[in-house]
Amino acid sequence: MDAVVEIFGNPWVSLAGKVLLVALIVPLSAMVLGFAEMKVSAKMQSRVGPYFAGGRWGWAQLIADGVKFFQKEDIVPDDADQPVFKAAPIIVLMGTVALLVVIPFGPGLIFQDLSVGIFYALAISSISTIGVLMAGWSSANKYSLMGGLRAAGQLIAYELPLVLAVVGSVIMAGTMSMGGIVQAQIDAGFPFVVVQFIGFGIFMVAALAELTRIPFDMPIAESELVMGYVTEYSGFRFLFFFLAEYANMFTMSAIAATLFLGGYWLPFVPESTLDYAGPFILIGKVLVLTFGMIWFRWTFPRFREDQLQTLAWKWLIPLALANIAVTAVLKVVL
């Protein structure tokens, strides 16, 4: 054990290890969640789901899909704005990877515990908006353009409730550090969702919109815009969007779990074991939340763009503001 600590004590080795881990978590989480989405949706529709690749349960379906994407021709439309078109999927994926850095998997198991962790996370998550807009604009496709514009409008509209929903938790914890927020919940002895249920609900709704998942998938809306801003992408560039979508699902759920559900901590689990149990607890919570997202996706239809804006500006933002006010007053009073 000491040897391990010593090796990881070396800043360069530790940095390399962290980079490697992040690079692994993104495709792994995308694969697990993508597969879960396939299987869960299949069962909700009385289907078998993937069953062929890999033999039992079709566990290798996503690997096969990945291999297929790499084999495909990398098509860039002639009229596309080439550099922008090529950069867009990378920027979208970059935002996802950068988000992972501040998520605490255990006490001390965090890539970088920034003192403004949650601020950083919310700021970084907006970067993908730029990537989406770039993809939509540069594709030289009217459907892509409409998808990109819808995405921009929607992501900006939902940035606000997302930030406001978080504020309640931050006020309660008194810190913006992700690790600190979990520690505050451990100290308080209850996950913040008990008090911050409104904030949690708003956060999840806004997160669904950020992720452009049903019922807020207007930017993609395959029955209206064919495939929205990803219409013209193929091969590994499409794969990047796919990875980003599912890895984002993972990180968004992880942030929600950290802020509202106690992160790597679970009541009645001794604190000493959190070093080892922490990651599993967090991933368990993430899986529960992503199951909810999948469940929502396969039950609901999508809103119309204007209805979505109505929901954000007329309902979520006032509600979030009221929540902040009440939390702040209570914090001072109690």
């Binding site: 069962k43 078998v48 396969w298 039950t299 609901f300």
Partner: protein
Amino acid sequence: MARAIPGGGLVKGLGVTITTFFKTVFMPGKYLATINYPVEKETPVPRARGVIALDQDACTVCMLCARQCPDWCIYIEGHKEELPPATPGGRIKVRSKLDRFDIDYALCMYCGICVEVCPFDALFWTPEYEYSEPKMGAMLHDMDRLQGWLETVPDPPGLEK
């Protein structure tokens, strides 16, 4: 459809999907609607119009099927030949012998008129369906291939009383 609580409809919907989820997971035998196709297969009904089988011995090259075919997808050629008399000194019989009987399944629209008009019971439907081909030309089944389908002809189903 009175709207009692806002969002009540959404919750009802979530209830339907999650119930189906657990039903399918725990009682796949009863609730699963699909099957692992190449591994498991469904049995088509006996009357299913899958592919047409030909009984070469029964065919008399009367051309009725080729004439009635709306798509002109049956091609028949034949010649006459003499059969030795059944009893010594008997009459020599002349019968038509089939040389070519092709059905172009790329054209066929599976209407079943040929089977219906055949007066000698030389054509039959069989429910076999796995004969897709990567090339359009290979959809032309010759008389031997059609003869091969004959053993898959099922017994007719019983009738409703």
